[in-house]
Amino acid sequence: MIFNWLLRKRTTLSEIVTRFSRTAFPASSTPVQQTDFLALDLELTGLNPRKDHIVSIGWVPVKAEEIVLSEARHYLICSPVSVGQSAVYHGLHDHQLANGKELSQVLTELLTDYAGFVFVAHHSQLDEQFLRIACERCFGKAPRFKFIDTMKMEWQRLLRQGKVVKHDALKLPSCLKRHNLPEMTNHHALEDAYSCALLLLSQLKLGGNKMTLSDLYLLSR
């Protein structure tokens, strides 16, 4: 760990992004069973990526259709501004975040350890935008991420069954309930990332064993 950290110090900030970008993603013909995923979730001060900030990040990898808890991570980010009213949603207050990590430090770990992983989030568009802007701020540029979206996949699945999909039905707790998965207790970046990973596992099984990564990309559009 220490040596990794020393190495990181020496690399210039933009190089972290370059390295991430240089690592190839799995081919889109890769069977989903062989794909490495990283389920992640961000807690935010608001919904505008230009104005709002990340207050915490949680992630957990899925390798060979198994969630690897030993690599689960959860970080609080010391925010440059007050979390203000958003504390109502994520339950994190300024005094907790004061002891949090630097955003650049956390992003460095994410980009270094999970290059080549396909990222998974529930309503991934928001997370992707925030991650990109955060990278631009920290490293001067943002890499191209590959995201799949458990919410869109659920929406497609329900549409195919000919169901009328109400907006509420796509929220993570409703999806977990529909898939008979353990319900989550509260908003917490790691808990949400874990729940998202569970939902992904269930969706992968329902998709049958012939699914490839490109099918997931299609369903996430």
Binding site: V60, E65, E66, I67, V68, L69, S70, A72, R73, H74, H179, N180, L181, P182, M184, T185, H188, L190, E191, Y194, S195, A197, L198, L201, S202, L204, K205, L206
Partner: protein, 607 residues
């Protein structure tokens, strides 16, 4: 970094509920989570503990028998983790499920660190073995289809009663099905011919339709036999047409039912005592394989089956002694016919040979000696004809050295006990399990008391007897693997007798002789030893369990050999039994190892 959902679940799941939150967080970090869909066959990867978070699974043995259902909070894989053995069970998901996998390293660390968790999984393991045993219990009930053959002897209603009588005697049946255009319209029995034709002086040309029983009671082919018995006694009838989906299939008579019960041991023993010749006894003994299979079907445990088989050997012996005396005349003096070994212990198996002797009131000489020589010859040759082979070691009453007076026997036992040599004891230990089969019980009791008095005060003898009992060990290797052995013409396997049952029999004998217990049955010896406090009651129960297990496996192996027409042998290929039975077997052998080391400690320490 803990996921609350995982740690919260573990905190509510025995045995992990005794860990504090920090320990739980550490444990949960080693977990991998996986999702299973209903109907999915889970490939159980070895070296991981499976913890079921949600959903339901069915566990099947390699013979596709449902062993158990697993649900939230249940575990799987600890069997392999504890024993290092893989088995061929299959796990099928019944209901969408979430699984946690704990890797072997974390599992073992957890066991070593927390004694209670270790104990929990050890207990779970032994309880699973019991579940496995209970599952096999089930009431065996004969069905009509088990005893009625598809054989229809029919007649048309317009045929004459004379035709009917001829048909019955030609086909050797006591009743006919009367059918019109393949439909059952009635039955006619030999009793009807008597009561409704002859008694009323009707002519031989009377039509069957006039005298038959119309719309007879019928029974479905798939009904239980007792339902037929019940109908017959309710309506006082002796014949029931058997139907299958509205079509007549055959006839069930009261005689058929009686015949189906003929392989009951009580029936066979009664029959043995009615025989007037060796030929007759030989015919009776030929029913033994069928009886064994029936006992097995009725789920009679092996030790009880051994008891039944011994009782039949006893009956054959007693009847042969009676027949011999019919031929040779009354015995010239009081005698006891003794059995040694498994017959004495009442745990005879299907491949047991003879071990017997004569105890006489006085030292035989002249005519008396000739008489008992002839008697022994008659009985032993008779037993051989009844399928109980002559003893290759010549431990039989035909051997003049084994036809002794009380004084002669007492002297022989005294020599074994006072100046024991290991080689002599190895051969002689079988003589210390003895029981009287026929003749004078008083004479026998005198001998047994004499022996027990000597053995209980002879530490040197017990030392050598224990040494002899420890000569062979259970076939478990250093890493708890089975040590297979080759038996002449047969393939490799575990000798359930030599490397299992006999070890426990020998062990129980040493203790019993030291404590002056006159019972010779191994199970009863162990029970008495526990009652008298000679051995710990828990140890005694463990040994009995191991003994029962080995006896059961041997009994099943013998029946399998019998049904497949092979020679009956004690050599079991561990791959032929289910995974759980293999685990049990290892446990059983481990019990033997422990018991042997305690025996050594008790009897061989001071020498």
């Amino acid at each position: 970094m803990e996921v609350a959902d995982v740690t919260q679940f573990l905190a509510q799941t025995t045995p992990f509920d005794q860990l504090n939150s920090m320990e739980l967080a550490q444990l949960s970090a080693h977990i991998k989570v996986c999702y299973c869909q209903a109907r999915e066959k889970v490939s159980v990867q070895p070296e991981r503990l499976m913890i079921i978070r949600t959903g339901i699974f069915s566990l099947y043995s390699d013979q596709q028998q449902l062993l158990t259902k697993l649900q939230s909070g249940d575990f799987y894989g600890y069997q392999q983790l504890l024993t290092g053995l893989t088995d061929n069970d299959t796990l099928v998901c019944d209901e969408d499920a979430l699984l946690y996998y704990l890797n072997a390293e974390a599992f073992h660390r957890c066991r070593y660190q927390y004694k209670n968790i270790d104990i929990f999984f050890q207990r779970l393991f032994s309880r699973r073995l019991h579940q496995y045993q209970e599952r096999q219990q089930g009431r065996f009930t004969l069905k009509i289809s088990d005893i009625v053959q598809q054989r229809k002897v029919t007649i048309r209603p317009e045929q004459t009663v004379q035709d009917a009588a001829r048909q019955m005697s030609d086909s050797r049946v006591s009743s006919l099905l009367v059918e019109e255009q393949d439909k059952l319209v009635g039955i006619v029995t030999d009793r009807d011919l008597r009561h409704r034709v002859l008694a009323h002086a009707l002519t031989a040309s009377t039509q069957v339709g006039q005298i038959m029983t119309r719309q007879p009671h019928v029974i479905d082919r798939h009904a239980f036999l007792y339902e037929a018995v019940q109908q017959m006694s309710q309506y006082n009838i002796h014949h029931l047409p058997v139907m299958e989906q509205g079509v007549c299939y055959g006839m069930l008579s009261a005689t058929d039912i009686m015949r189906s019960q003929q392989d009951h041991p009580v029936y066979l023993i009664g029959e043995i005592h009615r025989q007037a010749s060796i030929d007759g006894l030989e015919r009776c003994s030929q029913q033994l394989p069928a009886l064994a299979i029936t006992l097995h079907k009725q789920q009679v445990p092996a030790h009880e089956a051994g008891h039944v088989i011994t009782t039949i050997t006893d009956a054959l012996t007693q009847r042969l002694i009676y027949l011999a005396q019919q031929q040779l005349g009354e015995a010239p003096c009081v005698f006891s016919w003794l059995a040694f070994g498994s017959q004495a212990r009442m745990d005879q198996s299907l491949n047991a040979d003879q071990d017997n002797a004569l105890l006489l009131e006085k030292e035989p000489s002249g005519a008396v000696a000739d008489y008992f020589c002839a008697l022994a010859d008659f009985v032993c040759q008779g037993l051989a004809r009844c399928g109980i082979p002559l003893c290759p070691g010549n431990i039989m009453a035909t051997n003049p050295e084994l036809r002794l007076s009380l004084k002669g026997w007492s002297g022989r036992f005294a020599r074994w006990i006072a100046t024991p040599t290991p080689e002599a004891l190895l051969k002689a230990s079988i003589f210390f399990d003895l029981r009287v089969i026929d003749g004078s019980k008083g004479l026998f009791n005198a001998l047994q008391q004499d022996i027990l008095q000597r053995t209980s005060e002879a530490p040197l003898f017990l030392y050598h007897l224990a040494q002899a009992a420890l000569q062979r060990t259970a076939p478990l290797g250093l890493f708890k693997n089975f040590i297979l052995e080759q038996d002449g013409k047969h393939k490799k396997g575990l000798d359930l007798k030599k490397r299992g049952i006999s070890l426990l029999t020998d062990l129980a004998r040493v203790y019993a002789l030291s404590a002056g217990i006159n019972d010779v049955n191994t199970r009863r010896r162990l029970q008495q030893l526990a009652t008298q406090g000679v051995i710990d009651s828990k140890d005694s129960q463990n040994i009995i369990d191991a003994f029962d297990l080995l006896a059961q496996l041997r009994w099943e192996k013998h029946l399998q050999d019998l049904q497949q027409g092979h020679d009956v042998t004690n050599l079991l290929d561990p791959m032929d039994v289910s995974g759980l039975a293999r685990h049990q077997l290892k446990d059983g052998f481990a019990v033997i190892n422990e018991a042997q080391s305690r025996l050594k400690h008790r009897f061989c320490r001071d020498m």
